[in-house]
């Protein structure tokens, strides 16, 4: 694995921090249409991150443009696949909330946001990738194929 293929590991964590703040706002908005729209926006951000990798999401671009120039170079690079997989898990969780919300089940919106918040906040603060932790369980039960 060459270093050039890696990404700055602080990028996904800063991005997760931004996402966590947005998800906390959805929890504060509660079962409301405003919350549903904000969660839809977050879901689309996860979609972007899943398709293009975390460095291609708008949070990743903010990091590259405004945060990275103020930091010393990273001591090590990280594989881009784990954070990208985590984006996919975030996409799934928020999509469930958004779909149920658009079908009129608004309480699902803050609940989905709360679940995604736990994952995003842990990623930002202690570097835990919840989706990655669950990967093997999902493989074992056949929910995810290689």
């Amino acid at each position: 694995m060459s270093a050039s293929k890696g990404i700055d590991p602080r990028g996904p964590r800063v991005g997760a921090g931004i996402t966590a703040v947005l998800l906390a706002s959805v929890v504060l908005l509660g079962a409301s249409t405003a919350g549903l729209w904000l969660l839809t926006f977050i879901m689309l951000s996860f979609l972007l991150g899943t398709l293009r990798g975390t460095e291609g999401s708008w949070q990743g671009m903010l990091f590259k443009r405004f945060v990275r120039p103020r930091l010393s170079p990273p001591t090590e690079m990280e594989d881009r696949r784990p954070p990208r997989f985590a984006q996919g898990v975030g996409l799934f969780v928020t999509a469930v909330g958004v779909i149920l919300g658009f079908f009129g089940l608004l309480p699902a919106v803050p609940i989905a946001a709360a679940v995604a918040f736990v994952a995003a906040a842990l990623n930002a603060v202690v570097g835990l990738c919840l989706g990655c932790e669950l990967y093997l369980l999902m493989r074992r039960t056949g929910l995810v194929k290689a």
């Binding site: 509660g30 696949r81 736990v118 493989r139």
Partner: protein, 149 residues
């Protein structure tokens, strides 16, 4: 609005507790799990070292697997008879089920006879890996003592 604020506070506290708990568990050396005896490591393509082998279960989507791999690689480079074998869970799902491996990275510390002596899951630090090695040395000494008495 008050209800939502309380919900958020509870959520943040719960997340913090989860984070502390998870961080404390990272790489902690635990006893071996009761696994069926006679795991045929060789048939799974895992060649054991003479004295002790770190068998690391990894996945492509696992960031902590990289650092763990580096730490264990460093230790095997500096100790004789100690091996490090890293396998992808995707290629060894049967073995993963048999051994009760739930997350990546999970490192099994296996002695020369193929018995699991300890296991660690989550990012493993150099100190933790050496702790696990000491455990093997102790276990071997005990086994020898029993043989002599």
């Amino acid at each position: 609005m008050l209800g939502q604020v309380i919900a958020l506070v509870v959520l943040v506290l719960g997340t913090a507790a989860l984070g502390v708990w998870w961080s404390a568990r990272q790489g902690a050396v635990r006893g071996p799990r009761a696994t069926p005896a006679g795991i045929d490591w060789a048939s799974s393509g895992i060649a054991l070292a003479d004295r002790v082998t770190f068998v690391q279960f990894s996945a492509e989507v696992c960031a902590a697997c990289r650092s763990t791999s580096r730490v264990l690689g460093g230790i095997t480079g500096s100790s004789s008879g100690v091996g490090h074998r890293e396998v992808l869970v995707d290629d060894h799902l049967e073995l993963v089920r048999t051994l009760g491996v739930l997350r990546t990275p999970t490192v099994l510390v296996v002695d020369g006879g193929g018995r699991e002596v300890a296991r660690m899951s989550g990012a493993v630090s150099d100190t933790q890996a050496r702790q696990a090695l000491n455990r093997v040395t102790t276990a071997v000494a005990e086994a020898d003592g029993e043989g002599q008495s």
